[in-house]
Symmetry: C2
Subunit: 458 residues, 2 copies
């Protein structure tokens, strides 16, 4: 049986013979006894397996190394020892897979840097057991939230020929042989590639998401996205997952309602379903994490404009590194101040148009766009969204101003011609959410096999 199943109602198994299969996380040996710290990865909890020299293969058992895979038949007992409530008294065992003494994962504290170099083994540690379980549960919470609320899960394509993000920000994909490229007139003949033109892997599903929202009213995407950014920071990865809902007949206020509701749902789900993991992170990674999450669930998110935010920053008695400006983005230090000022999450709306994307709806003032960033205490910007420009002429004029190629996205523009409507959407970086939920500060640690510049091993 799985440990998860056992721990759901462990009392009822006392006195029963059970069979477990899993791994030895630690092994303490005494002359006549032994204690195996056993886990099977189905839940955060381990169980202790005890054995003594009444077993005929006692000497063999004592030789079992940390990391071995074993199956054990034993009887569940209430424990008399300190440290645990229950233990399994071994009757027999089977060695399923041996593990040498030089196994890299030993029962001691390894540095996160060391564990990154053992990416294929680190999921076996408590830290990454907790991390990737929270990641899995948060993914499900997101699906459940949107499905319960009538959204369609849209699988938008990853391969695309639309280069309106700026082709330098996208990976090119090809089936051509780099060392034998077909040439025509001195240039590579892309018509000989599989799709007969230059194609990319995309950094967003939004454009296709909007097409789906014009049919299903409420949709969400949840899939991998890519960016070529050659940047080695704690928050950048070249491959990451995004959630991008898109909602027809929804304005910026409606969008903020959805963002707040969704985020509270996810956090509640994690508090309810990953309490062991949250305790662990609270204790070993980020003191006060649990309180932070509980506070978010019970807070009402504040809504202010970018202009109001800058007013607050300007009147603050703070020596800023970056001077706040009505025309500029706000810096990390500003985000922090604003969330502390309101003592909770803050939506900042109506940003200067020049620092935001071309598809955002221009406000009546002709200076700002109907964009909204959600700033959350402890992490800063967590979600970015906007109402989309639904006016065909305004959209095209904005694309012209900003030099966005329209040939490959004529269909996107056409959505405005064929029964378009006011609509809004947002993007939630899934890794950023996991960092928020766990307090873990490096994106390389919330992705099982992270891809960053120069790093694509495993």
């Amino acid at each position: 049986m799985d440990l998860k199943e056992l721990f759901l109602d462990i009392k009822s198994y006392v006195g029963n013979e059970i069979t477990l299969s899993g791994w030895i996380r630690n092994h303490r040996k005494q002359k006549e006894f032994g204690f195996i710290d056993f886990s099977d990865g189905t839940c955060f909890k381990h169980i202790q397996i005890v054995y003594d020299n009444s077993l005929s293969d006692f000497d063999e058992i004592q030789k079992l190394h940390v990391g071995c895979a074993i199956s054990v038949v034993g009887v569940l007992k209430e424990s008399v020892g300190a440290g645990q409530d229950y233990e399994v008294v071994m009757k027999s065992y089977k060695l399923e897979g041996d593990c040498p003494e030089d196994y890299p994962i030993q029962p001691k504290r390894h540095s996160m840097e060391f564990l990154r170099e053992q990416a294929y083994l680190r999921p076996r540690t408590n830290m990454f057991q907790a991390l990737f379980r929270v990641r899995s549960m948060a993914a499900f919470a997101i699906h459940e939230y949107f499905q319960k609320n009538g959204y369609i899960y849209a699988h938008t394509p990853l391969i695309t020929t639309a280069d309106c993000e700026g082709e330098n920000q996208m990976f090119k994909v090809t089936t051509l042989d780099f060392n034998n490229l077909p040439m025509v007139d001195g240039s590579v003949d892309m018509s000989q590639d599989l799709f007969k033109k230059q194609s990319y892997i995309t950094g967003t599903g939004q454009l296709h998401g909007e097409a789906m929202a014009m049919a299903f009213k409420k949709i969400y995407t949840f899939g991998p996205t890519f960016r070529t950014e050659n940047s080695n920071t704690k928050t950048h990865a070249n491959e990451f997952w995004m959630i991008e809902p898109e909602i027809a007949f929804c304005d910026l206020d409606g969008l903020m309602d959805i963002e707040e509701d969704m985020l509270k749902y996810i956090v509640n789900y994690i508090l309810d379903n990953c309490s062991d993991e949250v305790e662990f992170f609270d204790k070993f990674v980020s003191k006060g994490l649990k309180e932070k999450l509980e506070k978010l669930v019970n807070s009402e998110f504040k809504r202010i404009t970018h202009h109001e935010a800058v007013d607050i920053l300007k009147s603050a008695n703070v020596k800023w590194e970056f001077e706040p400006s009505y025309d500029d983005d706000i810096a990390k230090e500003h985000e922090k101040y604003i969330t502390e000022y309101f003592n909770g999450p803050v939506f900042i709306t109506d940003w200067p148009k020049d620092i935001k994307a071309w598809y955002m709806k221009l406000n009546g003032d002709d200076k700002t766009v109907a964009a909204v960033d959600l700033e959350v205490p402890g992490i800063g910007e967590l979600i970015g969204g906007s109402q989309r420009e639904e006016d065909y002429d305004k959209l095209v004029s904005r694309m012209n101003q900003m030099g966005v190629d329209q040939d490959t996205v004529y269909w996107y523009n056409n959505l405005r011609r064929y029964g378009g409507c006011y609509h809004s959407g947002f993007g939630l970086g899934f890794e950023r959410l996991i960092m928020y939920l766990t307090g873990v500060e490096n994106i390389r640690d919330v992705i099982a096999f992270p891809r960053t510049p120069g790093n694509c091993d495993f």
Copy 2:
């Protein structure tokens, strides 16, 4: 409100004023009345909106085209007309987005070929409303099944440097400029690429999935995969979604139990949650679909070996196009015969090693591997799985025999050294499942924006 919400308990709204936002699917005009066929995409059902010339803007309303986005305030009534039980009597309306008369999607039967050329608009038709809603629901059923059963959702990476699938089957990804490639010693200098070596987008998450299963016991992946196959058939696409569960301490029998249980869960979920859609497909796409699905849920899947299957085929009184052989794969005609012979789904196990993948566990006979294909009436092979070779030496020897590069997957082999155990997994092509659930026969129609050779528009 959403139509989905309305139809959940429509009786209770009779006499109430409601507000709807959505699209005009059809518009019949009479001298003193008009009837709008209205849908908002939140459910398969439409509702009829009636108006008459008591409204001051009657003439304007009569001019509304098919495809327009409108918001309507009206009163829900039981309908006196034929064809529907309820209708909304319009009190006022707002035109949210106009639509010209040359709108490509008109209320008539369009060919599937025509609709493929309008991929960004076709989700608005009944056919694709039904298809993509089933797709979304089936995706959720899969997540729910695995999460309920304690599996961890593993996000395996898409970008990889492992080329053990054969590099010709994978798309290369790069940030290099094709027209200005850095050269060294007459070859392209891949060390100047973002990951400092040749990288690909992957066709499987299995290898990384196995690493996760050795930590969490039961995991599943669900994400996009890619193949470069230059093949224009009804069943091939270059980008598609796969589900790849991997289970530690699980043999081939255990794997078949899981496959059967999962498939029945998904089919039941669709029968319960997409009854309107299933009725539609049954009526217009594949007669008998509903009965086929209900039968699957109630059948017990048969289990036979490849050898036994060939015995049956050889003794059949059939003139085969391809002669059945103990050493060969079985053809489409054989799959069909076997499922008809048993009148239900059949697991075929223990395949000749030479026609299966290098990572499959060699049986004691040294001739066959512990692989299993699930053959399902009406579609043929739906799921392929195997027990994995857990013996390090046997795995390496097999990779050598089959010329599989080991440098980039040393870590995968090492899983056998560090507490490996017997384990199994399978791959379910998501599009193939959707084709089975809907009866739709071309993979280009179950993917919103399909990618096939020469086709990467939209």
